[in-house]
Structures are given as structure tokens and as C-alpha cells.
């Protein structure tokens, strides 16, 4: 018989955020499944664009990914700010979870954009205002993740990351004006208005936004749950080591 997998005792208490995340995982998962089915059906039956053809259907994926990415980066700065004010590690886990899921959606954004660009503009990338800004946003938060992995000590990592996350968010409007000033020609399509979508394209787009946001919520809840479990596991290991008289290693 192999040894049973290590189980978590219930001694280390769950905090409020972790409990909320754990309870949200299953409902958001089912909701995501339902949304994805509806979205898939709507996208398949949506009319093909007269000019752009099939590649226009990226619209149902690309802008929703942008919304999810922005949400992630906003939550990262929010979690960092609350952490600095309260010094509660739960809010640091909130920030890292939001950053990781945000980077994932930003990567999807940067991957789907060029597919459309190649089909419509004839090239994968242009140094357009919004493209440049999205790339910078991605780089700022990849640097955020690198900073976390290269810093030792939980408390210090949390502080450094919080400061960087907040500074990163503060620089986004500056970057916007800077690139605008540099004459980044607006090649990227305008923001969607009330009537800029063709007949039959509104519902699939809405379904795309809802599905992406639900997917964000689900992944975020899962990541938050994992972060909470890891943290408790580390604390219990440290306590067990201390009880056994061994030196407790900072994990």
C-alpha cells in the first residue's frame, strides 16, 4: 500500500476570501459550461461579415478577453493597495491570483489580435496606439510576476509586488497619452458603439463578454483557492516542524 496522500487538517482556519473562493468554484464552473455552450451556438449561427468574412468572428473572443485582462489588472492593484493598508496576506493572494489570470487573458488578447490583423490588415502587427499599449500592459504584469518569483520572503514579496502593481496601473494612463502623442495612428477599430454591430452580431458578442467574464471569475476563484491551500499547507508544515523541534524553514 502506498502512503495516503497528505490531507489538510482543519486546524489552520480558512480566511473569508478563501472560503468565498472555494464556494464560488463549483457554481461558476457550471455557469461557465452553460455560457460556453450558448456562446458557441450563437457564434456558429451568427452571420458572416460581408467584407471581412469568417475572420470577423474573432470579435466574439478578442474584445471580451480585453475586458477580462483589464479587470484582472485592476484587481491586482486593488489587492495590493488593500494589502499595504491592512497587511493581511489574504489580500496579497488576491492580487497574485488576479495578476496571473489577467496575464493569461492578456496573452489570449495578444494572440487573437494578430490573427484578425493578418486576415484584415494583411500583417500580424502594427505599432498602433492600442496594440502598443496592450503589449506594454502585458510586459508590466509579466515583470510583476517575475518580481514575485525573484524576491525571497513572503512578506517582502507581497510589499514589493503591491508597490509595483499600483505603479503599473498608474502608468497606464500616462502611456496612453504618450503613445497618442507619438502619433500612434489609430488603425485599431473604434470602441464598439450601440449600433456598430451588424444584424445578428449583438447577441453572440454579449455572450462572448459574459462567457469571458465568467471564465475569469472561475479561474480567479480556483487560483485563489489554490493560493489559500498552499499558504495553509506551508503554515502547517512550519508548525509541524516546530513541534518536532526542527528548524522551521521559511517557505
Amino acid at each position: 500500500m502506498s502512503t495516503p496522500p497528505p490531507t489538510l487538517s482543519t486546524e489552520a482556519p480558512e480566511d473569508g476570501l478563501e472560503r468565498l473562493a472555494r464556494r464560488a468554484v463549483a457554481p461558476t464552473g457550471w455557469l461557465l459550461l452553460a455560457c460556453a455552450i450558448v456562446w458557441g451556438l450563437l457564434v456558429v449561427q451568427a452571420p458572416e461579415d460581408a467584407v471581412q468574412g469568417i475572420v470577423q468572428k474573432i470579435l466574439y473572443v478578442h474584445p471580451p478577453c480585453a475586458f477580462a485582462a483589464y479587470l484582472g489588472f485592476f484587481l491586482t492593484a486593488l489587492g495590493g493597495a488593500v494589502y499595504l493598508a491592512r497587511r493581511d496576506p489574504a489580500w496579497d493572494r488576491f492580487a497574485i491570483s488576479a495578476a496571473e489570470v489577467g496575464v493569461l487573458f492578456c496573452a489570449l488578447l495578444l494572440a487573437t489580435g494578430p490573427i484578425w490583423g493578418k486576415g484584415t490588415w494583411g500583417r500580424w502587427w502594427t505599432w498602433d496606439l492600442r496594440l502598443t499599449l496592450s503589449l506594454l500592459l502585458f510586459l508590466v504584469y509579466v515583470a510583476y510576476l517575475l518580481l514575485r518569483s525573484f524576491t525571497e520572503g513572503d512578506e517582502r514579496t507581497a510589499r514589493f509586488a503591491a508597490v509595483y502593481g499600483i505603479a503599473g496601473l498608474a502608468v497606464i494612463p500616462l502611456n496612453y497619452f504618450a503613445i497618442d502623442l507619438a502619433g500612434g495612428r489609430a488603425l485599431h477599430p473604434e470602441n464598439l458603439g450601440g449600433d456598430s454591430l451588424g444584424e445578428g452580431m449583438g447577441w453572440p458578442f454579449l455572450a462572448g463578454v459574459v462567457t469571458c467574464l465568467v471564465a475569469f471569475g472561475h479561474l480567479f476563484a480556483r487560483r485563489l483557492e489554490v493560493a489559500g491551500l498552499r499558504d495553509r499547507r506551508a503554515r502547517e508544515a512550519a508548525e509541524a516542524a516546530a513541534a518536532a523541534g526542527e528548524p522551521a524553514w521559511d517557505t
Binding site: L84, L136, L139, V140, A143, L146, L147, F150, T151, E152, R156, R159, F160, A162, V163, Y164, I166, A167, G168, A170, V171, L174, N175, F177, A178, I179, L181, A182
Partner: protein
């Protein structure tokens, strides 16, 4: 703040290693650019002249990162950083002292690099010396302000020399764009575009405020 500024400048004056390293590095960048440029402006390459402000600012940013990497390295010896953190009073003032010291060094290196650029690429900077210095100072303020904050962060990570440019470069885009636009306008048309100056000033102000407030959380308790 003045004590920290004075201490940093005094140490630098006694050893002169940081400013020397930054200066030599900036000169090397000029030489490399000269060979990397498609056709030297001495040979009448208009395209290179168009890119000179950008090249100049790339040299400044690289030299600044080199210098900022050392800004807090000295404080790590003998736990001097903990001593600074324990000093009574607002930590923001320590930050301002460190940033001011970096700014002074950076301005010195900028002057040297500008001279080298002028000689190497046949630029006449004398008639535009005053506005050029103003732009360089505003740009240097932006580099030193946010750079000092993240220098204090990067120095306590592993791979610290790699970490600082990774953290800093995406944040420096507004400074770089504003400074390059302003320099370009000055050298090409003789006037400084007001919107570029405004961008530089606003960016400097935002960076100073964010760094002044953020430094509180960057030093260890």
C-alpha cells in the same frame, strides 16, 4: 534628506566609481551607435540624423539603469539600509535624498554623453543649449524618480541587475517618448513641442508622488 544626499555625493566623490562607470558606458554606447547606424551622418545620412534624439535617449536610459543598479548596492553592506530604515522621520525624505543624488550623477553623465554625441555626429548644440538642458533635466528627473524606487526593490531580489531594467523599462515609456519628442522638435525645428513638455512634467510629477509614497513600503521594517 540633505544628509542622505550629501552622504551619497561624498561617497561618490571619494570613489567616483559610479559616475565613471556610467560615463564610460555612455561613451561606449555612442561609439557602438556610430558603427551600428546604417550610414554615418558624416557621410550625409539624413535618416540617422532623424534618429539621433532616440539614440541619445537610449544611451541616457542605459547609463541611468547602470547607475541606479548601484544606488542601493552600497547600502547593503553592513546593513546600512536597515540603519536608514530606522532613521526617525518620514521615509519619503530618505527617498528624495537618494533620488537627488542619482539625479546629480545622471545629469553629469548626460552632459558628457551629449558632448560626445555632438562631436561624434556633428551636432551643433550650442545655440539650443538652454532648452536642451531643460529637456535633459526633466527626462533625468523622470528616470531618477521612479528608478530610485525600483532600485531599492531590485537590489533585494535575486538577479538584481536583470530585475531593474525588467521592472523599469515598461514604466519609462512616457518619459522616453516625451523626451525624445521634445529633443527631436528642438533639433529638427528649433522649437520644443508644448505637449511633449507637458507629458514630461506630468509624468515626473506622478512618478515623484508615487515613489515618495511607495518608498515607505519598500524598506524593510
Amino acid at each position: 534628506m540633505w544628509a542622505v544626499l550629501w552622504k551619497d555625493l561624498l561617497i561618490e566623490w571619494r570613489s567616483r566609481d559610479r559616475v565613471l562607470a556610467m560615463g564610460v558606458f555612455a561613451l561606449l554606447v555612442v561609439v557602438i551607435f556610430h558603427f551600428a547606424a546604417p550610414a554615418g551622418p558624416a557621410a550625409g545620412g539624413e535618416a540617422t540624423r532623424e534618429h539621433l534624439p532616440g539614440l541619445l535617449w537610449v544611451a541616457y536610459v542605459f547609463a541611468a539603469i547602470l547607475g541606479l543598479n548601484r544606488a542601493f548596492a552600497l547600502e547593503l553592506e553592513n546593513e546600512a539600509l536597515s540603519g536608514l530604515a530606522l532613521a526617525p522621520g518620514e521615509r519619503g525624505w530618505i527617498y528624495l535624498g537618494k533620488a537627488a543624488a542619482s539625479l546629480v550623477l545622471l545629469v553629469a553623465v548626460q552632459a558628457l554623453a551629449a558632448l560626445a554625441f555632438a562631436l561624434a555626429f556633428d551636432l551643433d548644440l550650442v545655440p539650443v543649449l538652454l532648452p536642451f538642458s531643460g529637456i535633459a533635466l526633466l527626462g533625468a528627473l523622470g528616470l531618477a524618480s521612479i528608478g530610485t524606487l525600483f532600485s531599492a526593490v531590485a537590489v533585494r531580489t535575486s538577479y538584481r541587475e536583470v530585475m531593474l531594467p525588467l521592472l523599469l523599462l515598461p514604466l519609462l515609456v512616457p518619459v522616453l517618448l516625451g523626451a525624445v519628442r521634445a529633443t527631436h522638435g528642438l533639433l529638427a525645428e528649433g522649437t520644443v513641442p508644448a505637449d511633449a513638455l507637458r507629458l514630461l512634467a506630468v509624468t515626473d510629477a506622478v512618478f515623484l508622488i508615487v515613489s515618495f509614497l511607495g518608498f515607505e513600503y519598500v524598506l524593510d521594517e
